[in-house]
Amino acid sequence: MRAPLSWIRDYVDLPADLTADELAHRLTMLGLKLEALERPGHDMTGPLVLGRVLEFVEEPQSNGKTIRWCQVDVADANGTGEPQGIVCGALNFAVGDLVVVILPGGVLPGGFEISARKTYGHVSAGMICSARELELGEDHDGIMVLPPDAGEPGDDAFGVLPLRDEVIEFEINPDRAYALSLRGVAREAALEYAVHGDGATYHDPADRPVPEPNAEGYPVVVDDLEGCPVFVARRVTGLDPQAPTPLWMARRIQLAGMRPISLAVDITNYVMLEMGHPIHGYDAARLAGPIRVRRATEGEHLTTLDDADRVLSAEDLVVCDDSGPIGLGGVMGGATTEMSETTTDVLVEVASWDPVSMFRTGRRHKLTSEAGKRNERGVDPTIPEAAADRVVELLVAHGGGIAHPGVTKVGRAPAPRTITIDVDLPARISGIEIAAETTVSSLEAVGCEVAVEGDRLTATVPPWRTDLTDPYDLVEEVVRIVGYDRVPSVLPPAPAGRGLTRDQRLRRRVGRTLAGAGYVEVLSFPFVGVDDLDRLGLDAADERRTVLTLANPLSSEQPSMTTTLLPGLLETAARNAGRGQADVALFETATVTLPHEAGPAPILPVDRRPSEGEFADLDKALPAQPLHLGLVVAGERERSGWWGPGRAAGWQDAVGAVREVARALGVEVEVRAVTRAPWHPGRCAEVRAGDVLLGHAGELHPKVCRAYGVPARTAAAEVDLDALLRLAVDVTPAPSFSSYPVAREDVALVVASTVTAAEVEQALRDGAGDLLESVRLFDVYEGDQAGEGRKSLAFRLRFRAPDRTLTVEETSAARDAAVAVAAERCGAVQRA
């Protein structure tokens, strides 16, 4: 809501020296938040005066343009009293017209300094201004010609024209619909000065005598009094369709952020801004028979003012005449009865509408209008007659019309609402000491009538406060008037807490582990599209293609919630590579969305707690959202440098990182080779803990690297972190270890290339017996000496007994037993 300060002052006697800054700040602290403060016209300086065109000569120019060399009477404003010679490019004025002249030394908006200058063979000493140059409107077709009675030549234009003002733009919250009007803003200003200042008299623009409804009014029938509880109609005939909108009114409409259009339209908008009540004007000559307000018939058509053909729903409220719907009640009028430049007979409609219906209709037809915005938030139902009367007054005064004696009123405003609260409720909720008298006077200040009975009070809510419905609403009113700045600062007495949950602690551990291992955490948007999944090389049946899709995605290319963290990580890796950072190790922990067949989530009642079953139904409707860990490692994992060459990232980094995380959580994992997109078919490990599949890691398929634009041999992993966290060891048992000497045995085993290191290692472990302390693979050899299709795996076995020093015989026997099992299970042959 944009409120010119001059307009606010019409309704409240604010101190003369009050600045807009000060008022805006005070109202912000009262709940009308300052959004912006503008000072139109304040960057314009004179001499800016009225002038009368005494004569002019039209001079065609070689560029095809015609200019007028004018002599303009500006009286003594130029210091000489002689006519001022000015070149003007506009042709829309006549000798004798009153115009606005800026003389040399003046400055127009935007720092445009005026000086006498030579142009088109004359010395032009100033400029005749257009409305746009003065920021009084958009009109730049010609210069501004003022009404003959606007003033005298030489008059200071700042005193004649509404050039300067201060406009406070407020952000109005949905509950303060009454402040979408000057009436409401001024009321708040008056309230502020009544409470925190010396008081300021408020003049309610809606408080005016109005004629009684009578039988001569335009016939109106309202079928749905719930949808339209009040309908007031007045009529003005004999309007001059050419009558211009007075400059002051156009200026105010413009400053309030709307566009002046024509007198009749401007007046309805002006009164809406003034009182906050939307108004519709019909060209009465185009109405066919009586007006009827009803719900639309499903599928009915209406062409609205914006020339859109709308198919109506049975929930829409429509205003009809004998021709059918002529307006979407309270939201937008229809094209057939629209006021135009030939309208001489206007029917003014001011009606109260059901806010819920307004909201739904607005949303259904995607229509936002100044009227709809107010109607869906709730307007004062007691002022339609006043608003209609004000429109009639202005049409008569500025349009030369005649007020028709007929006054139509159907329905009536609902009885005022009452709310009863404990007198001390505001104090109890706010924590501020508030005396009972203060509570009462605060509520009275916002317009309530208050009756106190014992320790209870009953407030009768003023009709413009449609937002006040609950006891706590009254608390807010009292507290904002007492002052939010008076709320003391007290720490609440929380009971002893249990700290972070197990999962919360473990997730921190995962992040720290990976950061410690050189991985950088990133965040990605969870949106994904078919193309992203195609680039991963997922086949048609891959479960990761079953996505939850958004009804209103920001991008049609990524309309769904992702099932895997890899697309986001790969995009990020590619973005880094594009910025000269190809060597990256990235990780992300985030939930993925795995939809399953589910019914709708119920919309439950809100006047009670849902039952356990109902609550469970909400969760059942939601997709599974497990927390995943994804990581991508590309380029050089270890840098090259003065110490020697670097090491390229590979499958082992991805697998190693997953193992590292598992180790940090105390989870024993096994890996085995599998084939799965988007990984290299021969370099993908499945990571499990017993029966639980945790995820996959390895080098990416070359096609995937190319598709995502990441370096060749980029490796990646994705793990179900929730599953991993479930397995994490809560309390680590302390190890027991022997202090007797260790015995080492190295064995080199030749096996077929297809046999995995893990299999051989497991065989050694199983065969070595209790004396085995550890097994570590320290070399892999695939060459001539191993033989075709074979490889040599060198393991170091460490043996130790808890109670004695092992003998050479014991150690050898254990080693031989280990090798024997490896030979039996894996066909391993010990190299000499």
């Binding site: 924590g431 709320v487 009971p495 958004l550 009670r608």
Partner: protein, 367 residues
């Protein structure tokens, strides 16, 4: 090798003459002193203290002396050998020290060589910032509550007094999922976690809920379809706005330093009544006259808009099964991204989401 010779006259055994032993000793000591390095000393040791050295040979002869001569000869040779060994030990020590000294000089390296073989990892400031915030509240005895991102419409809106026809629904531009009649949304705030908490616990409730939220905002320097919020919820007997103010002041101080408190302005949220905007005292100029006017952080306001808060609307308590006659509560919420943006001077929101490694790396593993 000779055995003992009892007929021998000691005075006639040439090598055991005093002056000869003396000469051997002098020769040994001179050689020791002359040894320039450990290698030379090794040779000297062999020559003058080894098994074949003159003194060793002399020592061997002692047994062949007549008993009356043995004592004196033994003493003489023993003293000489002792002196030589001492000299050797002393010289060894000196030469070893010299050697080490030299080695240390030779082993000098350029310690300014870069040692960045393994790149450094880091956690995202949103993660560590969320943890920092959580820790502030956990230290007060609160707990950290969480909930799903894809959420039921009823929990995201209706339970929070945001019915389908509430004009405030349009304040939060919502991502809806298909099919639309399934009433499932991407949560627009972390408030459904509050609803879930109230539905699954009994008061006293003291929780903070950090998490990702979604709105259909086009992505630019100050807007993102995904961002992060932290909300707090307290439901207990006798809770007032003063407790809300106290908690937020404490939070502000913990995040921005001593003397940084908050200010309330009346506002509107369907889930709270009374509602307030919470402003943070500018942590740069602190609103001090003379500095505030030119402060870029708060643009001369002295205060920075931080978030929203209020007393939990009794309608919300009712929908979540908490008796509004017995309990009151407060709630607040603010953007984590926004909080970190001004705490750390992040000027472009996109830096948080684009994953440029230089961004997170700057923050390291803690914030």
């Amino acid at each position: 090798m000779s055995g003992p010779n009892s007929d021998y006259d000691p005075v006639e055994v040439t090598p055991l003459k005093a002056e000869e032993v003396e000469a051997m000793r002098e020769a040994a000591l001179a050689a020791i002193a002359a040894a320039a390095d450990l290698d030379q000393l090794k040779e000297v040791r062999l020559a003058h203290a080894g098994d074949r050295s003159p003194l060793a040979l002399a020592n061997r002869e002692i047994g062949a002396l007549p008993p009356q001569a043995r004592k004196e000869a033994g003493q003489r040779v023993g003293q000489a050998r002792g002196a030589v060994n001492q000299a050797l030990a002393a010289r060894t020590e000196v030469l070893e020290a010299e050697h080490e000294e030299r080695m240390l000089v030779e082993e000098t390296v350029d310690v300014t060589l870069p040692v960045d073989r393994l790149p450094r990892g880091s956690r995202h400031p949103i993660t560590t910032g969320s943890e920092l915030i959580a820790d502030v509240f956990v230290a007060m005895g609160w707990e950290v509550a969480e909930g799903p991102v894809v959420e039921a419409e009823w929990l995201n809106f209706d339970a929070l007094n945001l019915g389908a026809d509430h004009p405030a629904r349009t304040m939060q531009d919502t991502f809806w999922t298909e099919p639309a009649d399934h009433h499932v949304v991407l949560r627009t705030h972390t408030s459904p976690v509050q609803a879930r908490t109230m539905l699954t616990r009994t008061p006293p409730i003291y929780v903070v809920c950090p998490g990702r939220v979604f709105r259909t905002d086009e992505y630019d320097a100050t807007h993102s379809p995904m961002f992060h919020q932290v909300e707090g919820l307290v439901v207990d007997e006798g809770i007032t706005m003063a407790h809300l103010k106290g908690s937020l002041d404490h939070f502000a101080t913990a995040m921005f330093g001593e003397g940084i408190d908050t200010r309330f302005r009346p506002s509107y949220f369907p889930f709270t009544e009374p509602s307030a905007e919470v402003d943070l005292r500018c942590f740069v100029c602190r609103g001090v006259a003379g500095e505030v006017e030119t402060c870029r952080t708060c643009r001369g306001e002295g205060w920075i808009e931080w978030g929203g808060c209020g007393v939990v609307n009794p309608r919300v308590l009712t929908a979540c099964g908490i008796d509004p006659e017995r309990y009151t509560g407060f709630a607040f919420g603010m953007g984590i991204d926004r909080t970190l943006m001004f705490r750390h001077g992040i000027t472009d929101l996109r830096d948080i989401f684009e994953g440029d490694v230089r961004f997170a790396a700057a923050f390291g593993t803690e914030i």
